[in-house]
Amino acid sequence: DVKVTQSSRYLVKRTGEKVFLECVQDMDHENMFWYRQDPGLGLRLIYFSYDVKMKEKGDIPEGYSVSREKKERFSLILESASTNQTSMYLCASSLKTDYGYTFGSGTRLTVV
């Protein structure tokens, strides 16, 4: 089974800190995604990547950046964390469209 591992289950950070969320997949998937999940809003796409060093903005990229230096790792960066970025962050990977996504377990980030 494909495994997508997010390095932290829970994080608490202070306003203004630079935050790194790490995601690693172990099945050589080309495509990786970062979503945030908020009650009543479902999942919203932040950034995605189709290949190493490539990135595309999703629907809500403001305040975030990403890095994909290696195929298996996709990092989400909050340049200066704010309280409105308190959320559940989900990483996903896929081989191709009709396979669907494999999700990590999520990182619940609280910004205080």
Binding site: V4, T97, D98, F103
Partner: protein, 111 residues
Amino acid sequence: AQSVTQPDIHITVSEGASLELRCNYSYGATPYLFWYVQSPGQGLQLLLKYFSGDTLVQGIKGFEAEFKRSQSSFNLRKPSVHWSDAAEYFCAVGGFNKFYFGSGTKLNVKP
């Protein structure tokens, strides 16, 4: 514009009863359609998917879904719900590796 609507935020059913969760979508092309399930504190797990062929698709855990193009719907069903089915369910629509998710339906199962 692409969108996914799950009109029911919460549903409660009795164990052993049948279940139908609704999903309606708006998408400019023939979509890929998925249902995912999320247990508390976990990521999402793929239940089933549709992109062509028979419009009734079978998934894991006894779930099925029917694609109705004329109604732009992809409703999820299960004939007999088990207590372990209590979770949140998400419908997703899209293509070319980019998907739009509904806001989810939380399922409670009464003993």
